[in-house]
Structures are given as structure tokens and as C-alpha cells.
């Protein structure tokens, strides 16, 4: 086993946040799901005593869990990755690592795996909450697998991005701040750009006079390009059914894979180059 993985996991398990964060995570997730469940019941046209469609509630709970989980994990991913290399610089242990026989790839891999393993632990710890959706129906194993796989891929890319910023900066506070900025750019900014582009297209279509009975064409697919970088859209696309030759989930997978691999490659170079100078 890569000695970095063992060291990182051991140190991570000794930190207080290793039990505090999962506790908060499960608590918040449970509260969100409970709110979604009771909100769905109260808003349903089949109120008390009526014929409640369990499958619809199951789907609502499932969607809520998936996206609430993603939101929380996107908040936590920078915590576990963006400080990984800067902490070695701050406590001056990086020179000792770099003068051992561990390569920059070994060091990166150990940090990446330990960060991702912890996030996976959180993901798995939400399974009991997810089982509520199963019990209500409307959701099958395929949906769970697709949503989980895409969530993992997104988290892996974000972790790789966090490690890249950690390889650039000397201080954890700076690398963490920039990683959060990147997460905001990927989640909020991409959505805002898409909304503006869509609004612009709709405005253009509204100005075009059409014969009676002829509806406006569908928005071209390339308008969705900003969304391919959006983690929420990536997970949503994994749950969509589509007949496209290149479905959106495939494009999102390739985009996040490329993002993660590029961040990893650049981090390898920085670990060696900036090992001492930060």
C-alpha cells in the first residue's frame, strides 16, 4: 500500500473533524429529507386519508437526497483536498517527502485517495437515508448506481482541483478559498451563464414571426455547454433518459474526467517545482 495513503488516513481519523463532520452531514441530510417528505405529503392533492402515491414521494425523497448530498459534499470536498499539500509546506515536512523515494505522483495519489475515501465514507453513510426512497418505491437500483457514480466522479474532480490549488499556494487558507471559488464558478456561474444564454435565445425566437401552428424550435444543444461543467447538471443528466447519440451524461463524464486529469498532471509538476519555494 502507498505509505502516503496509510499516513493520511491515520492522521485524518485522529482529527476531531473526522467524526464531527460526518455527524453534522448525516444530521443535516436527515433533516432535509424529513422536510421534503412532510412537505410532499402536505402539498399532495391526496391529503390525509386520501390515496397517496408512494412512488411519487419515493422519487421526491430520492431526488432530495441526491442533490442535498451533492450540495453538502461540494461544501466538504475543498476542506479535505485544498489543504493537503499546503499543510506539508506549512509544517515544513514537504522537503522530507521530496527527498525520500516517493515520487510526486505517489505523494499526490496518497493525498487524493485519502480525501476521496473520506468523501466516499460520507456518501455511503447516507445510504440508510436513501433506503427510505427505496421503501416508498419509484426508484430502482440503476438510478442509485448512476447518481452515485456521477457524484463520485464530480467529487474526484473537485478533489483533484483542490489538490492542484494546494500545490500552487503556500497557505491552506488561500488554497481553500480559491477552491471554493472554483466550486462556486462551476455550480453557480455556469448556471447563470446558461440562463443568460437561454434567455437571449428565447428573446430572439420571440422576435421571429412564424406561421400559425408552427412552434419555435428547441434550444440548440450547444447552448448547454456551460452546464456540462455544472456538477448538479452532471448528476441530473445521469438520471435522465435520452435518445441522443452522445447523451449529456457522457459529455459531463468526459468533461469532469478531463478536468480531474488536467488538475492532477499540473499538480505533479508543481509538487516537484514548488516543493521548496511554494
Amino acid at each position: 500500500m502507498n505509505p502516503m495513503i496509510r499516513k493520511e488516513l491515520r492522521q485524518r481519523m485522529r482529527e476531531r473533524r473526522s467524526w464531527i463532520l460526518p455527524s453534522i452531514y448525516i444530521g443535516v441530510l436527515g433533516a432535509v429529507v424529513a422536510m421534503a417528505y412532510f412537505f410532499t405529503l402536505s402539498e399532495s392533492p391526496w391529503q390525509r386519508g386520501g390515496d397517496i402515491q408512494g412512488a411519487q414521494i419515493g422519487v421526491t425523497v430520492f431526488i432530495t437526497v441526491v442533490f442535498a448530498q451533492l450540495s453538502l459534499l461540494l461544501l466538504l470536498a475543498p476542506v479535505f483536498s485544498a489543504g493537503s499539500l499546503t499543510i506539508e509546506k506549512e509544517q515544513r515536512t514537504l522537503p522530507m517527502l521530496l527527498t525520500s523515494l516517493l515520487s510526486p505522483a505517489d505523494i499526490w495519489y496518497g493525498k487524493f485517495v485519502s480525501a476521496l475515501l473520506f468523501l466516499t465514507l460520507l456518501l455511503v453513510s447516507a445510504l440508510p437515508v436513501l433506503s427510505l426512497a427505496f421503501s416508498l418505491g419509484g426508484v430502482g437500483p440503476a438510478e442509485v448506481v448512476r447518481a452515485t457514480a456521477m457524484t463520485l466522479l464530480v467529487l474526484a474532480s473537485i478533489s483533484a482541483l483542490g489538490l492542484y490549488f494546494s500545490s500552487i499556494f503556500r497557505r491552506s487558507v488561500h488554497s481553500t478559498a480559491v477552491t471554493y471559488a472554483a466550486v462556486i464558478a462551476l455550480t453557480a456561474i455556469t448556471f447563470i451563464i446558461f440562463t443568460m444564454m437561454e434567455s437571449h435565445w428565447q428573446t430572439k425566437q420571440a422576435q421571429i414571426t412564424r406561421p400559425a401552428g408552427v412552434s419555435a424550435p428547441e434550444i440548440p444543444r450547444y447552448y448547454s455547454i456551460p452546464l456540462y461543467l455544472n456538477p448538479f447538471y452532471a448528476v441530473a443528466s445521469a438520471l435522465m433518459h435520452t435518445r441522443h447519440k452522445f447523451p449529456d451524461w457522457l459529455i459531463c463524464t468526459l468533461v469532469f474526467l478531463f478536468l480531474g486529469l488536467a488538475a492532477a498532471f499540473l499538480a505533479f509538476r508543481n509538487i516537484r517545482r514548488r516543493g521548496e519555494s511554494g
Binding site: 505509505p3 515536512t93 514537504l94 522537503p95 522530507m96 527527498t99 525520500s100 523515494l101
Partner: protein, 318 residues
């Protein structure tokens, strides 16, 4: 063996090293001394493959530090000037981690960790967290970690910084012992007395360049007497009987300059090396002076350091 040929390194506009050259023979205990900012740490980092030189070449045991960096790392043990430690690891875990990092496999791994614990005197503290150790113990732990993979070459950057006098003595004895076992040790230090005690040769560095002493040499031998014409040796005797008689006898020796008399002790300076001290002693004995104690010391490292670097200080002679 360490070979440094015209190494240059700069950080932006600041020149850290310029055309610096040096050769350390296998099995030497070699010191590097110079003022703050002279380039000592930069040079050691280049040898440790942490930074590539901008010009020139450096080789450790025949391996180029840039082109064969992984081979160099396998044969060096590097101790930085401010070593970091994983405070939340136990002592034994810390050593086991670095044993793994140097790809040591069982049973060599276990033997290396046990030897490191014995060498650092931390066997009884092996289950303690690193943060619980004193500064001196942490320094011993880091040095022990440096020796885990039995490197033939040690690169030590200010290893005695922050140590109390007893710890410094223990460190000096350890380095001498390691050198007797055949290790080549290259260390930088500000503590001249330590270098004088343990090193066979010392190189002077200033402003990133080889610095010459008053004798024109940039590498000082600390075991051989100086043959330069401006060298002087300090001698001291303790006599029985009339000290003034001994002082008169001493004044008859060519070049002898009286420094001080205190109690029954007479101190003089003589031109030349330690062989002059021996000749002066024989002169006194021939004159009938009864001597119970004699000491002779060549130009010390501190004196040579002062001669080499005083002119470069503000207000010093240029």
C-alpha cells in the same frame, strides 16, 4: 563523493549561488561556513535534489543531481535547517512511514526502525506522539529518520541549531561515529567550534561564491598546520619558579610575542605553524625553565572566519 562544478542559482534578480565549486572526498566530514544569506542552504538543497541549479553541475557519488535525481535521493540523507515533523504521529509510526517511503521491506524495515530508535535514544518513547517530545528529542528523531535507509552521504543543514550544549556534544559524537563508519558528511553550521572539533576540512562561502581566507584558500584544512607565511600559533606554558625568568628566556626566541602573564602561566604568539610551538618549548627547556603544562593552537577557525568575512561587513576593510 560530492562534486560541485561552477554551480549557479538565482531567485529572480537575487543571486544565491554564482560559479561555486567544491569537491568533497568520500569518507570526509566536511563543513560549510559563511554569513547569513551566503548560499549555504541553497547549495545543500541543490545537492538534496530539492532545487535544480540554473548553471553548472553537481554530482553525489557519481550521480548527477538533476538528471539522476531519484538515484541521488537513494544515497543521501537530508536534514533541513528547520525540519518539520508530523506532530500527530507516534514516534514509531513516524519512522515506519519513512522506512516505507524509502521502500524498505521486511525484515530490513523492522531492523532499520529498531536501529533508529536505539540511535536516537527514543526506544522508551516509541509510542509517544511526536508533539510530546522535547526539541532536542525531535532533532534526534529527525536525524535518526535521515539514517533509516543507510545512506552513504549525509547532507545536514545547521543540524545543531537550537540544541543545548549537552545535545550539541552528543550530536558531535554521533557525527564522528558515523564518519568513522564510513559515511561522507557535508554539513553547514554557524557554530565554528563544532566544525573545528569534527570537520577535516571547511569551505568558506560568501555572496554565493567561494570565499577566500587571508591565506587565499577557500577550503581550510583543520587537521594540518598552516604553511602560510602570515600564519601564527598561540602557545601557553605553566612554569615552576620565576615566571619573569621564563618570560626573558621566551623573548630570546625569534618572533616570539608576549601576549600575557597570569599567575604561573605565560602566553605568547609565534609566527608559523605548530612546529614553531614545539621549537619554542625546546628553547625554554634548554634555557632551564621548568614547565608543568604546555598547549599550542594553530590559527583557529574563528580567526580565519573573521579574517575572511570581516572585510565584507559594513564598515569593514574592503
Amino acid at each position: 563523493m560530492i562534486e560541485i562544478e561552477s554551480i549557479g542559482k538565482h531567485y529572480g534578480r537575487r543571486v544565491a549561488l554564482e560559479n561555486f565549486s567544491l569537491c568533497v572526498e568520500s569518507g570526509e566530514l566536511f563543513g560549510l561556513v559563511g554569513p547569513n544569506g551566503a548560499g549555504k542552504s541553497t547549495l545543500i538543497k541543490i545537492l538534496a535534489t530539492l532545487q535544480p541549479p540554473d548553471s553548472g553541475r553537481a554530482r553525489v557519488n557519481g550521480k548527477d543531481v538533476t538528471a539522476e535525481s531519484s538515484s541521488v535521493r537513494a544515497v543521501i540523507g537530508y536534514l533541513p535547517d528547520v525540519p518539520g515533523l508530523y506532530q500527530d504521529m507516534r514516534v514509531e509510526e513516524f519512522l515506519e512511514f519513512f522506512a516505507d517511503a524509502f521502500h524498505l521491506r521486511e525484515p530490513r524495515r523492522r531492523q532499520a526502525v529498531d536501529r533508529a530508535l536505539a540511535r536516537s535514544g527514543l526506544e522508551r518513547r516509541c509510542n509517544d506522539f511526536v508533539e510530546q517530545l522535547s526539541f532536542g528529542m525531535k532533532q534526534r528523531l529527525v536525524l535518526a529518520k535521515t539514517l533509516l535507509h543507510d545512506p552513504p552521504v549525509l547532507l545536514l543543514d545547521e543540524p545543531a541549531t537550537g540544541l543545548d550544549p549537552l545535545a550539541r556534544i552528543e550530536l558531535r559524537e554521533l557525527l564522528k561515529e558515523l564518519n568513522r563508519e564510513g559515511l561522507t558528511i557535508f554539513l553547514s553550521s554557524h557554530i565554528l567550534s563544532d566544525l573545528e572539533d569534527i570537520c577535516t576540512r571547511v569551505a568558506l562561502i560568501a555572496d554565493g561564491r567561494n570565499a577566500a581566507g587571508s591565506d587565499g584558500q577557500s577550503v581550510l584544512s583543520l587537521s594540518a598546520p598552516s604553511a602560510q607565511s602570515d600564519a601564527r600559533v598561540a602557545c601557553e606554558v605553566e612554569v615552576l619558579g620565576d615566571l619573569q625568568f621564563a618570560a626573558r628566556a621566551s623573548s630570546g626566541f625569534p618572533g616570539a610575542q608576549l601576549v600575557s602573564t597570569q599567575g604561573q602561566r605565560l602566553r605568547v604568539e609565534l609566527p608559523g605553524g605548530s612546529e614553531q610551538g614545539t621549537a619554542w618549548l625546546q628553547h625554554l627547556l634548554s634555557a632551564g625553565v621548568k614547565i608543568v603544562y604546555f598547549d599550542s593552537r594553530g590559527p583557529g577557525l574563528e580567526e580565519r572566519y573573521r579574517q575572511a568575512f570581516e572585510k565584507n561587513r559594513p564598515g569593514g576593510e574592503q
